[in-house]
Symmetry: C2
Protein backbone atom coordinates (compact mmCIF):
# COMPACT_ATOMS: atom_id res chain seq x y z
CA UNK A 1 0.00 0.00 0.00
CA UNK A 2 1.29 3.45 -0.87
CA UNK A 3 -0.31 6.87 -0.80
CA UNK A 4 0.15 9.56 -3.42
CA UNK A 5 -1.20 13.10 -3.18
CA UNK A 6 -1.12 15.69 -5.95
CA UNK A 7 -1.99 19.23 -4.97
CA UNK A 8 -0.75 22.60 -3.84
CA UNK A 9 2.16 23.39 -1.57
CA UNK A 10 1.70 26.91 -0.29
CA UNK A 11 2.89 29.64 2.00
CA UNK A 12 -0.17 31.00 3.77
CA UNK A 13 -0.68 34.25 5.59
CA UNK A 14 -3.50 33.67 8.03
CA UNK A 15 -5.27 35.82 10.59
CA UNK A 16 -7.92 34.43 12.91
CA UNK A 17 -9.25 35.90 16.17
CA UNK A 18 -6.83 33.57 17.99
CA UNK A 19 -3.67 33.16 15.90
CA UNK A 20 -1.73 34.91 13.18
CA UNK A 21 0.87 33.51 10.81
CA UNK A 22 3.01 35.02 8.07
CA UNK A 23 3.86 32.73 5.13
CA UNK A 24 3.41 29.56 7.14
CA UNK A 25 3.55 26.17 5.48
CA UNK A 26 0.22 25.18 3.93
CA UNK A 27 -1.49 24.01 0.76
CA UNK A 28 -3.76 21.05 0.12
CA UNK A 29 -1.01 18.48 -0.48
CA UNK A 30 0.78 19.55 2.69
CA UNK A 31 -2.29 19.42 4.94
CA UNK A 32 -3.21 16.06 3.42
CA UNK A 33 0.29 14.67 4.05
CA UNK A 34 0.49 16.11 7.54
CA UNK A 35 -2.75 14.32 8.39
CA UNK A 36 -1.98 11.05 6.64
CA UNK A 37 1.44 10.86 8.28
CA UNK A 38 -0.12 10.20 11.69
CA UNK A 39 -0.90 6.69 10.52
CA UNK A 40 1.33 6.26 7.53
CA UNK A 41 5.07 6.69 7.35
CA UNK A 42 5.64 7.09 3.64
CA UNK A 43 3.58 9.65 1.73
CA UNK A 44 4.34 10.44 -1.90
CA UNK A 45 3.73 14.07 -2.73
CA UNK A 46 3.69 15.70 -6.16
CA UNK A 47 3.64 19.48 -6.17
CA UNK A 48 5.70 22.55 -6.97
CA UNK A 49 7.42 25.20 -4.87
CA UNK A 50 9.41 28.34 -5.66
CA UNK A 51 12.88 29.38 -4.63
CA UNK A 52 11.47 31.09 -1.53
CA UNK A 53 10.46 27.71 -0.05
CA UNK A 54 12.53 27.42 3.10
CA UNK A 55 14.71 24.51 4.18
CA UNK A 56 12.71 24.42 7.42
CA UNK A 57 9.60 23.51 5.42
CA UNK A 58 11.49 20.80 3.55
CA UNK A 59 12.76 19.50 6.88
CA UNK A 60 9.20 19.51 8.28
CA UNK A 61 7.90 17.42 5.40
CA UNK A 62 10.82 15.00 5.67
CA UNK A 63 10.21 14.61 9.39
CA UNK A 64 6.62 13.72 8.54
CA UNK A 65 7.86 10.89 6.33
CA UNK A 66 6.90 12.67 3.13
CA UNK A 67 8.97 11.51 0.15
CA UNK A 68 9.90 14.59 -1.90
CA UNK A 69 10.97 13.02 -5.19
CA UNK A 70 7.85 14.57 -6.71
CA UNK A 71 8.28 18.04 -5.24
CA UNK A 72 9.44 20.20 -8.14
CA UNK A 73 11.44 23.32 -7.37
CA UNK A 74 10.70 26.03 -9.96
CA UNK A 75 12.06 29.51 -10.55
CA UNK A 76 9.79 32.07 -8.92
CA UNK A 77 7.69 32.27 -5.81
CA UNK A 78 5.68 29.59 -4.04
CA UNK A 79 1.90 29.65 -4.23
CA UNK A 80 0.70 32.20 -1.68
CA UNK A 81 -2.72 32.55 -0.06
CA UNK A 82 -3.61 35.32 2.32
CA UNK A 83 -6.87 35.28 4.22
CA UNK A 84 -8.61 35.80 7.51
CA UNK A 85 -11.42 34.48 9.63
CA UNK A 86 -13.72 36.51 11.84
CA UNK A 87 -15.66 35.19 14.82
CA UNK A 88 -17.60 32.90 12.49
CA UNK A 89 -14.76 30.51 11.73
CA UNK A 90 -16.79 28.64 9.11
CA UNK A 91 -16.17 31.46 6.64
CA UNK A 92 -12.71 32.09 5.16
CA UNK A 93 -12.22 35.58 3.69
CA UNK A 94 -9.57 35.64 0.96
CA UNK A 95 -7.41 38.76 0.79
CA UNK A 96 -5.30 37.52 -2.10
CA UNK A 97 -4.29 34.42 -3.97
CA UNK A 98 -0.96 34.50 -5.83
CA UNK A 99 -0.56 31.37 -7.92
CA UNK A 100 3.10 32.10 -8.74
CA UNK A 101 4.89 28.86 -9.75
CA UNK A 102 1.64 26.94 -9.28
CA UNK A 103 0.25 28.73 -12.34
CA UNK A 104 2.37 26.59 -14.66
CA UNK A 105 2.13 23.42 -12.54
CA UNK A 106 2.13 20.34 -14.74
CA UNK A 107 2.25 17.31 -12.47
CA UNK A 108 4.73 14.69 -13.57
CA UNK A 109 4.38 11.48 -11.58
CA UNK A 110 7.78 9.89 -10.88
CA UNK A 111 8.02 6.32 -12.16
CA UNK A 112 8.34 5.08 -8.59
CA UNK A 113 4.87 6.50 -7.77
CA UNK A 114 2.90 5.25 -10.79
CA UNK A 115 1.86 2.03 -9.14
CA UNK A 116 0.82 3.70 -5.87
CA UNK A 117 -2.34 2.10 -4.55
CA UNK A 118 -4.11 5.10 -2.96
CA UNK A 119 -4.33 8.41 -4.80
CA UNK A 120 -5.72 11.73 -3.55
CA UNK A 121 -6.38 14.33 -6.22
CA UNK A 122 -6.52 17.54 -4.20
CA UNK A 123 -8.35 20.62 -5.42
CA UNK A 124 -6.52 21.59 -8.64
CA UNK A 125 -7.57 22.18 -12.27
CA UNK A 126 -9.56 19.11 -13.40
CA UNK A 127 -7.37 18.97 -16.52
CA UNK A 128 -4.37 18.37 -14.29
CA UNK A 129 -6.28 15.83 -12.22
CA UNK A 130 -7.01 13.93 -15.45
CA UNK A 131 -3.37 14.17 -16.50
CA UNK A 132 -2.40 12.59 -13.18
CA UNK A 133 -4.89 9.77 -13.69
CA UNK A 134 -3.45 9.17 -17.17
CA UNK A 135 -0.03 8.57 -15.63
CA UNK A 136 -1.19 6.09 -12.99
CA UNK A 137 -1.18 2.32 -13.26
CA UNK A 138 -4.59 1.26 -11.92
CA UNK A 139 -4.63 2.61 -8.34
CA UNK A 140 -6.88 0.66 -5.94
CA UNK A 141 -8.59 3.80 -4.65
CA UNK A 142 -8.88 7.27 -6.17
CA UNK A 143 -10.27 10.03 -3.98
CA UNK A 144 -10.81 13.53 -5.35
CA UNK A 145 -11.67 17.02 -4.19
CA UNK A 146 -12.58 20.19 -6.09
CA UNK A 147 -14.00 23.70 -5.51
CA UNK A 148 -16.75 26.03 -6.76
CA UNK A 149 -14.38 27.72 -9.26
CA UNK A 150 -13.79 24.49 -11.21
CA UNK A 151 -17.50 23.60 -11.06
CA UNK A 152 -18.26 26.95 -12.69
CA UNK A 153 -15.50 26.96 -15.28
CA UNK A 154 -14.58 23.32 -16.01
CA UNK A 155 -17.63 21.27 -15.18
CA UNK A 156 -17.25 18.86 -18.13
CA UNK A 157 -13.68 18.03 -17.26
CA UNK A 158 -14.57 17.72 -13.60
CA UNK A 159 -17.31 15.22 -14.44
CA UNK A 160 -14.60 13.17 -16.19
CA UNK A 161 -12.55 13.24 -13.00
CA UNK A 162 -15.55 12.05 -10.97
CA UNK A 163 -16.14 9.23 -13.45
CA UNK A 164 -12.60 8.02 -12.94
CA UNK A 165 -12.62 8.42 -9.13
CA UNK A 166 -13.98 6.06 -6.49
CA UNK A 167 -14.82 8.63 -3.85
CA UNK A 168 -15.22 12.42 -3.85
CA UNK A 169 -14.89 14.55 -0.73
CA UNK A 170 -17.05 17.65 -1.19
CA UNK A 171 -19.05 20.16 0.79
CA UNK A 172 -22.79 20.77 0.51
CA UNK A 173 -22.46 23.92 -1.59
CA UNK A 174 -20.34 22.04 -4.10
CA UNK A 175 -22.67 19.07 -4.50
CA UNK A 176 -25.66 21.38 -4.94
CA UNK A 177 -23.80 23.43 -7.51
CA UNK A 178 -22.72 20.28 -9.36
CA UNK A 179 -26.16 18.65 -9.48
CA UNK A 180 -28.70 21.44 -9.12
CA UNK A 181 -30.40 19.46 -6.34
CA UNK A 182 -30.99 21.36 -3.09
CA UNK A 183 -31.59 18.34 -0.85
CA UNK A 184 -28.26 16.96 0.31
CA UNK A 185 -29.19 13.31 -0.06
CA UNK A 186 -30.70 13.83 -3.50
CA UNK A 187 -27.61 15.75 -4.62
CA UNK A 188 -25.31 13.07 -3.24
CA UNK A 189 -27.14 10.24 -4.98
CA UNK A 190 -27.15 12.20 -8.25
CA UNK A 191 -23.39 12.53 -7.97
CA UNK A 192 -23.01 8.79 -7.51
CA UNK A 193 -24.64 8.40 -10.92
CA UNK A 194 -21.54 10.09 -12.37
CA UNK A 195 -19.70 6.87 -11.53
CA UNK A 196 -18.45 7.36 -7.98
CA UNK A 197 -18.73 4.48 -5.53
CA UNK A 198 -19.15 6.74 -2.51
CA UNK A 199 -19.47 10.41 -1.76
CA UNK A 200 -18.29 12.06 1.43
CA UNK A 201 -20.18 15.25 2.26
CA UNK A 202 -18.24 17.56 4.55
CA UNK A 203 -20.54 19.62 6.79
CA UNK A 204 -17.89 21.59 8.65
CA UNK A 205 -18.46 21.84 12.40
CA UNK A 206 -21.69 19.84 12.08
CA UNK A 207 -20.23 16.61 10.78
CA UNK A 208 -20.17 14.51 7.63
CA UNK A 209 -22.13 12.06 5.54
CA UNK A 210 -20.84 8.98 3.75
CA UNK A 211 -23.24 8.20 0.94
CA UNK A 212 -23.35 5.05 -1.18
CA UNK A 213 -26.02 3.89 -3.58
CA UNK A 214 -27.76 1.84 -0.89
CA UNK A 215 -25.75 2.84 2.15
CA UNK A 216 -25.73 5.94 4.28
CA UNK A 217 -23.75 6.99 7.33
CA UNK A 218 -24.06 10.27 9.21
CA UNK A 219 -21.62 11.41 11.87
CA UNK A 220 -21.34 14.39 14.19
CA UNK A 221 -18.13 16.38 14.16
CA UNK A 222 -16.12 16.63 17.35
CA UNK A 223 -17.53 19.54 19.33
CA UNK A 224 -14.72 22.00 20.06
CA UNK A 225 -14.47 25.38 21.67
CA UNK A 226 -10.79 25.94 20.95
CA UNK A 227 -10.76 26.19 17.16
CA UNK A 228 -7.79 28.39 16.30
CA UNK A 229 -7.45 28.10 12.52
CA UNK A 230 -9.71 26.05 10.23
CA UNK A 231 -7.32 26.33 7.25
CA UNK A 232 -6.65 22.89 5.80
CA UNK A 233 -9.44 21.13 7.72
CA UNK A 234 -10.87 19.58 4.54
CA UNK A 235 -7.50 18.35 3.30
CA UNK A 236 -6.64 17.02 6.75
CA UNK A 237 -9.95 15.17 6.71
CA UNK A 238 -9.01 13.66 3.34
CA UNK A 239 -5.56 12.72 4.63
CA UNK A 240 -7.02 11.03 7.66
CA UNK A 241 -9.54 9.22 5.51
CA UNK A 242 -7.17 7.90 2.84
CA UNK A 243 -4.51 6.87 5.35
CA UNK A 244 -7.04 4.93 7.43
CA UNK A 245 -8.38 3.11 4.38
CA UNK A 246 -4.83 2.34 3.20
CA UNK A 247 -3.92 0.96 6.62
CA UNK A 248 -6.90 -1.43 6.52
CA UNK A 249 -6.38 -2.77 2.99
CA UNK A 250 -10.12 -2.84 2.56
CA UNK A 251 -12.69 -0.50 1.02
CA UNK A 252 -15.93 -2.03 2.33
CA UNK A 253 -18.59 0.22 3.82
CA UNK A 254 -17.78 -0.75 7.42
CA UNK A 255 -14.17 0.28 6.96
CA UNK A 256 -15.14 3.48 5.16
CA UNK A 257 -17.44 4.46 8.06
CA UNK A 258 -14.59 4.08 10.53
CA UNK A 259 -12.33 5.94 8.12
CA UNK A 260 -14.59 9.03 8.08
CA UNK A 261 -14.75 8.97 11.87
CA UNK A 262 -10.94 8.78 11.98
CA UNK A 263 -10.81 11.60 9.41
CA UNK A 264 -13.07 13.71 11.58
CA UNK A 265 -10.86 13.19 14.62
CA UNK A 266 -7.75 14.04 12.61
CA UNK A 267 -9.38 17.22 11.26
CA UNK A 268 -10.34 18.19 14.81
CA UNK A 269 -6.65 18.32 15.74
CA UNK A 270 -5.82 20.32 12.63
CA UNK A 271 -8.13 23.19 13.53
CA UNK A 272 -6.72 23.50 17.03
CA UNK A 273 -3.50 25.07 15.80
CA UNK A 274 -2.20 27.51 13.20
CA UNK A 275 -1.46 25.98 9.77
CA UNK A 276 0.15 22.55 10.18
CA UNK A 277 0.83 23.02 13.90
CA UNK A 278 -2.42 21.51 15.18
CA UNK A 279 -1.53 18.08 13.83
CA UNK A 280 2.19 18.27 14.40
CA UNK A 281 3.28 15.87 17.19
CA UNK A 282 -0.11 14.14 17.18
CA UNK A 283 0.32 10.38 17.56
CA UNK A 284 -1.95 7.42 16.94
CA UNK A 285 -2.36 7.20 20.72
CA UNK A 286 -3.61 10.79 20.82
CA UNK A 287 -6.20 10.05 18.15
CA UNK A 288 -7.28 6.87 19.94
CA UNK A 289 -7.71 8.86 23.13
CA UNK A 290 -9.85 11.39 21.30
CA UNK A 291 -11.86 8.56 19.78
CA UNK A 292 -12.86 7.57 23.31
CA UNK A 293 -14.03 11.12 23.94
CA UNK A 294 -15.86 10.99 20.60
CA UNK A 295 -17.63 7.78 21.58
CA UNK A 296 -18.69 9.41 24.85
CA UNK A 297 -19.93 12.45 22.89
CA UNK A 298 -22.07 10.46 20.48
CA UNK A 299 -23.22 7.22 22.11
CA UNK A 300 -26.69 6.92 23.60
CA UNK A 301 -27.38 3.20 23.72
CA UNK A 302 -30.84 2.03 22.69
CA UNK A 303 -33.94 4.15 23.05
Amino acid sequence: MSILVVGSVALDTIRTPYVTGERVLGGSAVHFSNAASVLYGDIHLVGVVGDDFGDDHVAFLKRKGVDLKGLEKAKGKTFHWEGYYEQDMNQAHTVKTELNVFQAFNPVIPDAYRKDSHLFLANIDPDLQLRVLDQMDRPKLVVCDTMNYWIETRKDRLVEVLKRSDIAVLNEGEIRQLTGAMNTLDAARKLLDFGLRYLIVKRGEYGFLLVGREELFSGSAMVLNDVKDPTGAGDSFAGGFVSYVASKRDTGFKTLKKAVVWANLIASFNVQGLGVEGLDRVTVADVRKRSVAYARLTEFGRI
Copy 2:
Protein backbone atom coordinates in the same frame (compact mmCIF):
# COMPACT_ATOMS: atom_id res chain seq x y z
CA MET B 1 -46.77 12.29 35.59
CA SER B 2 -48.69 14.83 33.55
CA ILE B 3 -47.67 17.14 30.73
CA LEU B 4 -48.76 20.73 30.34
CA VAL B 5 -48.01 22.95 27.36
CA VAL B 6 -48.72 26.66 27.12
CA GLY B 7 -48.37 28.24 23.68
CA SER B 8 -50.05 29.21 20.48
CA VAL B 9 -52.86 27.46 18.66
CA ALA B 10 -52.90 28.72 15.10
CA LEU B 11 -54.34 28.45 11.64
CA ASP B 12 -51.40 28.42 9.25
CA THR B 13 -51.29 29.10 5.55
CA ILE B 14 -48.21 27.33 4.24
CA ARG B 15 -46.61 26.96 0.84
CA THR B 16 -43.59 24.76 0.23
CA PRO B 17 -42.26 23.37 -3.07
CA TYR B 18 -44.12 20.14 -2.23
CA VAL B 19 -47.34 20.97 -0.36
CA THR B 20 -49.76 23.84 0.15
CA GLY B 21 -52.28 24.36 2.93
CA GLU B 22 -54.84 27.07 3.67
CA ARG B 23 -55.52 27.78 7.36
CA VAL B 24 -54.41 24.35 8.50
CA LEU B 25 -54.12 23.52 12.19
CA GLY B 26 -50.81 24.66 13.66
CA GLY B 27 -49.18 26.64 16.44
CA SER B 28 -46.51 25.72 18.95
CA ALA B 29 -48.84 24.15 21.52
CA VAL B 30 -50.53 22.06 18.83
CA HIS B 31 -47.30 20.76 17.28
CA PHE B 32 -45.97 20.00 20.76
CA SER B 33 -49.14 18.09 21.70
CA ASN B 34 -49.30 16.24 18.39
CA ALA B 35 -45.73 15.04 18.99
CA ALA B 36 -46.11 14.24 22.69
CA SER B 37 -49.30 12.30 22.06
CA VAL B 38 -47.39 9.52 20.29
CA LEU B 39 -46.13 8.38 23.67
CA TYR B 40 -48.48 10.06 26.08
CA GLY B 41 -52.28 9.86 26.12
CA ASP B 42 -53.21 12.86 28.22
CA ILE B 43 -51.75 16.25 27.29
CA HIS B 44 -52.90 19.41 29.04
CA LEU B 45 -52.97 22.39 26.70
CA VAL B 46 -53.44 26.03 27.62
CA GLY B 47 -54.03 28.39 24.70
CA VAL B 48 -56.62 30.54 23.00
CA VAL B 49 -58.59 30.26 19.75
CA GLY B 50 -61.14 32.48 18.02
CA ASP B 51 -64.65 31.76 16.84
CA ASP B 52 -63.30 30.65 13.43
CA PHE B 53 -61.61 27.61 15.02
CA GLY B 54 -63.37 24.65 13.40
CA ASP B 55 -64.93 21.68 15.13
CA ASP B 56 -62.69 19.45 13.00
CA HIS B 57 -59.64 20.94 14.73
CA VAL B 58 -61.21 20.41 18.14
CA ALA B 59 -61.96 16.83 17.13
CA PHE B 60 -58.36 16.35 15.97
CA LEU B 61 -56.98 17.50 19.32
CA LYS B 62 -59.44 15.31 21.23
CA ARG B 63 -58.50 12.31 19.13
CA LYS B 64 -54.88 13.01 20.10
CA GLY B 65 -55.79 12.77 23.76
CA VAL B 66 -55.39 16.50 24.35
CA ASP B 67 -57.47 17.74 27.28
CA LEU B 68 -59.06 21.04 26.26
CA LYS B 69 -60.11 22.45 29.62
CA GLY B 70 -57.43 25.09 29.17
CA LEU B 71 -58.29 26.03 25.57
CA GLU B 72 -60.02 29.38 25.86
CA LYS B 73 -62.45 30.38 23.10
CA ALA B 74 -62.35 34.15 22.59
CA LYS B 75 -64.32 36.53 20.40
CA GLY B 76 -62.40 37.24 17.21
CA LYS B 77 -60.12 35.30 14.92
CA THR B 78 -57.57 32.61 15.72
CA PHE B 79 -53.84 33.42 15.50
CA HIS B 80 -52.88 33.21 11.83
CA TRP B 81 -49.45 32.75 10.27
CA GLU B 82 -48.83 32.77 6.56
CA GLY B 83 -45.48 31.82 5.14
CA TYR B 84 -43.61 29.88 2.54
CA TYR B 85 -40.43 27.89 2.01
CA GLU B 86 -38.34 27.82 -1.13
CA GLN B 87 -35.97 25.05 -2.15
CA ASP B 88 -33.87 25.74 0.95
CA MET B 89 -36.33 24.38 3.48
CA ASN B 90 -34.24 25.60 6.41
CA GLN B 91 -35.50 29.13 5.85
CA ALA B 92 -39.14 30.09 6.55
CA HIS B 93 -40.31 33.27 4.82
CA THR B 94 -43.14 34.99 6.69
CA VAL B 95 -45.79 36.69 4.57
CA LYS B 96 -47.90 37.81 7.51
CA THR B 97 -48.55 37.18 11.17
CA GLU B 98 -51.96 38.10 12.53
CA LEU B 99 -52.00 37.73 16.32
CA ASN B 100 -55.79 38.21 16.55
CA VAL B 101 -57.12 36.71 19.83
CA PHE B 102 -53.55 35.69 20.76
CA GLN B 103 -52.73 39.41 21.21
CA ALA B 104 -54.65 39.51 24.50
CA PHE B 105 -53.69 35.97 25.58
CA ASN B 106 -53.36 35.77 29.33
CA PRO B 107 -52.80 32.14 30.25
CA VAL B 108 -54.90 30.97 33.16
CA ILE B 109 -53.87 27.52 34.35
CA PRO B 110 -56.91 25.45 35.39
CA ASP B 111 -56.67 24.20 38.97
CA ALA B 112 -56.50 20.63 37.69
CA TYR B 113 -53.25 21.46 35.82
CA ARG B 114 -51.36 23.33 38.54
CA LYS B 115 -49.69 20.25 39.91
CA ASP B 116 -48.67 18.93 36.46
CA SER B 117 -45.19 17.44 36.62
CA HIS B 118 -43.81 18.35 33.16
CA LEU B 119 -44.27 21.84 31.74
CA PHE B 120 -43.36 23.14 28.30
CA LEU B 121 -43.32 26.91 27.92
CA ALA B 122 -43.56 27.35 24.16
CA ASN B 123 -42.36 30.49 22.42
CA ILE B 124 -44.56 33.26 23.84
CA ASP B 125 -43.93 36.59 25.60
CA PRO B 126 -41.56 35.90 28.54
CA ASP B 127 -43.94 37.86 30.78
CA LEU B 128 -46.61 35.28 30.04
CA GLN B 129 -44.16 32.44 30.57
CA LEU B 130 -43.39 33.87 34.01
CA ARG B 131 -47.09 34.23 34.75
CA VAL B 132 -47.53 30.55 33.97
CA LEU B 133 -44.66 29.62 36.28
CA ASP B 134 -46.24 31.69 39.05
CA GLN B 135 -49.38 29.58 38.80
CA MET B 136 -47.63 26.22 38.95
CA ASP B 137 -47.06 24.10 42.02
CA ARG B 138 -43.43 22.97 41.75
CA PRO B 139 -43.33 21.04 38.44
CA LYS B 140 -40.61 18.37 38.25
CA LEU B 141 -39.33 19.58 34.88
CA VAL B 142 -39.73 22.93 33.15
CA VAL B 143 -38.63 23.17 29.51
CA CYS B 144 -38.78 26.47 27.64
CA ASP B 145 -38.42 27.86 24.14
CA THR B 146 -38.18 31.43 22.84
CA MET B 147 -37.31 33.38 19.66
CA ASN B 148 -35.10 36.23 18.44
CA TYR B 149 -37.92 38.79 18.89
CA TRP B 150 -38.12 38.23 22.67
CA ILE B 151 -34.32 38.17 22.98
CA GLU B 152 -34.24 41.61 21.37
CA THR B 153 -37.15 43.16 23.20
CA ARG B 154 -37.53 41.34 26.55
CA LYS B 155 -34.13 39.94 27.38
CA ASP B 156 -34.33 40.68 31.12
CA ARG B 157 -37.64 38.89 31.49
CA LEU B 158 -36.42 36.03 29.34
CA VAL B 159 -33.39 35.58 31.59
CA GLU B 160 -35.86 35.23 34.50
CA VAL B 161 -37.63 32.46 32.57
CA LEU B 162 -34.32 30.67 31.97
CA LYS B 163 -33.47 30.94 35.67
CA ARG B 164 -36.71 29.23 36.56
CA SER B 165 -36.48 26.54 33.85
CA ASP B 166 -34.54 23.27 33.89
CA ILE B 167 -33.92 22.95 30.17
CA ALA B 168 -34.14 25.35 27.22
CA VAL B 169 -34.55 24.20 23.63
CA LEU B 170 -32.99 26.82 21.37
CA ASN B 171 -31.26 27.15 18.02
CA GLU B 172 -27.71 28.36 17.43
CA GLY B 173 -28.73 31.86 16.35
CA GLU B 174 -30.70 32.31 19.55
CA ILE B 175 -27.96 31.17 21.91
CA ARG B 176 -25.42 33.43 20.17
CA GLN B 177 -27.79 36.36 20.38
CA LEU B 178 -28.48 35.65 24.06
CA THR B 179 -24.85 35.31 25.12
CA GLY B 180 -22.77 37.17 22.54
CA ALA B 181 -20.55 34.08 22.18
CA MET B 182 -20.02 32.84 18.61
CA ASN B 183 -18.76 29.37 19.50
CA THR B 184 -21.71 27.08 20.08
CA LEU B 185 -20.23 25.26 23.06
CA ASP B 186 -19.12 28.49 24.72
CA ALA B 187 -22.55 30.03 24.17
CA ALA B 188 -24.27 26.93 25.54
CA ARG B 189 -22.14 26.84 28.68
CA LYS B 190 -22.71 30.56 29.26
CA LEU B 191 -26.44 29.93 29.11
CA LEU B 192 -26.15 27.22 31.74
CA ASP B 193 -24.76 29.88 34.06
CA PHE B 194 -28.19 31.52 33.93
CA GLY B 195 -29.44 28.59 36.01
CA LEU B 196 -30.46 25.95 33.48
CA ARG B 197 -29.54 22.33 34.13
CA TYR B 198 -29.26 21.47 30.45
CA LEU B 199 -29.47 23.20 27.12
CA ILE B 200 -30.63 21.56 23.92
CA VAL B 201 -29.23 23.19 20.79
CA LYS B 202 -31.34 22.52 17.71
CA ARG B 203 -29.22 22.43 14.54
CA GLY B 204 -32.01 21.77 12.04
CA GLU B 205 -31.19 19.14 9.44
CA TYR B 206 -27.71 18.68 10.95
CA GLY B 207 -28.74 17.46 14.36
CA PHE B 208 -28.69 18.57 17.96
CA LEU B 209 -26.53 19.01 21.03
CA LEU B 210 -27.43 18.29 24.63
CA VAL B 211 -25.18 20.37 26.83
CA GLY B 212 -24.72 20.09 30.58
CA ARG B 213 -22.10 21.66 32.80
CA GLU B 214 -19.84 18.62 32.55
CA GLU B 215 -21.74 16.55 30.01
CA LEU B 216 -22.09 16.82 26.26
CA PHE B 217 -23.97 14.78 23.69
CA SER B 218 -24.04 15.40 19.94
CA GLY B 219 -26.42 13.64 17.57
CA SER B 220 -27.01 13.64 13.83
CA ALA B 221 -30.48 14.37 12.57
CA MET B 222 -32.27 11.72 10.52
CA VAL B 223 -31.18 12.22 6.91
CA LEU B 224 -34.30 12.70 4.78
CA ASN B 225 -34.99 13.52 1.18
CA ASP B 226 -38.75 13.81 1.49
CA VAL B 227 -39.12 16.87 3.69
CA LYS B 228 -42.46 18.42 2.74
CA ASP B 229 -43.05 21.09 5.39
CA PRO B 230 -40.67 21.98 8.25
CA THR B 231 -43.30 24.05 10.10
CA GLY B 232 -43.50 22.93 13.71
CA ALA B 233 -40.34 20.83 13.65
CA GLY B 234 -38.92 22.56 16.74
CA ASP B 235 -42.13 22.22 18.73
CA SER B 236 -42.49 18.59 17.65
CA PHE B 237 -38.93 18.02 18.84
CA ALA B 238 -39.87 19.54 22.21
CA GLY B 239 -43.02 17.40 22.38
CA GLY B 240 -41.06 14.26 21.65
CA PHE B 241 -38.46 15.23 24.23
CA VAL B 242 -40.79 16.09 27.11
CA SER B 243 -43.05 13.08 26.53
CA TYR B 244 -40.06 10.71 26.50
CA VAL B 245 -38.69 12.16 29.72
CA ALA B 246 -42.14 12.02 31.36
CA SER B 247 -42.54 8.39 30.34
CA LYS B 248 -39.23 7.48 32.02
CA ARG B 249 -39.85 9.30 35.33
CA ASP B 250 -36.16 10.20 35.35
CA THR B 251 -34.14 13.22 34.31
CA GLY B 252 -30.60 11.81 34.41
CA PHE B 253 -28.21 12.48 31.53
CA LYS B 254 -28.58 8.98 30.07
CA THR B 255 -32.33 9.38 29.84
CA LEU B 256 -32.04 12.89 28.43
CA LYS B 257 -29.71 11.63 25.67
CA LYS B 258 -32.26 9.03 24.62
CA ALA B 259 -34.97 11.66 24.89
CA VAL B 260 -33.25 13.97 22.35
CA VAL B 261 -32.80 11.03 19.99
CA TRP B 262 -36.49 10.19 20.36
CA ALA B 263 -37.29 13.89 19.83
CA ASN B 264 -35.23 13.90 16.64
CA LEU B 265 -37.09 10.87 15.30
CA ILE B 266 -40.44 12.43 16.17
CA ALA B 267 -39.47 15.69 14.44
CA SER B 268 -38.41 13.72 11.37
CA PHE B 269 -41.99 12.46 10.96
CA ASN B 270 -43.37 15.95 11.46
CA VAL B 271 -41.49 17.43 8.49
CA GLN B 272 -42.66 14.67 6.15
CA GLY B 273 -46.18 16.05 5.96
CA LEU B 274 -48.07 19.35 5.84
CA GLY B 275 -48.83 20.90 9.23
CA VAL B 276 -49.80 18.24 11.74
CA GLU B 277 -50.27 15.54 9.09
CA GLY B 278 -46.72 14.18 9.20
CA LEU B 279 -47.12 12.93 12.76
CA ASP B 280 -50.77 12.00 12.53
CA ARG B 281 -51.24 8.22 12.71
CA VAL B 282 -47.60 7.72 13.78
CA THR B 283 -47.40 5.02 16.46
CA VAL B 284 -44.73 4.07 18.97
CA ALA B 285 -44.00 1.08 16.73
CA ASP B 286 -43.34 3.43 13.79
CA VAL B 287 -40.88 5.45 15.87
CA ARG B 288 -39.17 2.27 17.10
CA LYS B 289 -38.82 1.12 13.50
CA ARG B 290 -37.26 4.44 12.55
CA SER B 291 -34.95 4.19 15.55
CA VAL B 292 -33.53 1.03 13.99
CA ALA B 293 -32.90 2.94 10.76
CA TYR B 294 -31.33 5.71 12.83
CA ALA B 295 -29.00 3.28 14.55
CA ARG B 296 -27.96 1.94 11.14
CA LEU B 297 -27.40 5.51 9.95
CA THR B 298 -25.15 6.49 12.84
CA GLU B 299 -23.36 3.42 14.22
CA PHE B 300 -19.79 2.64 13.24
CA GLY B 301 -18.49 0.37 16.00
CA ARG B 302 -14.98 1.03 17.27
CA ILE B 303 -12.26 2.56 15.17
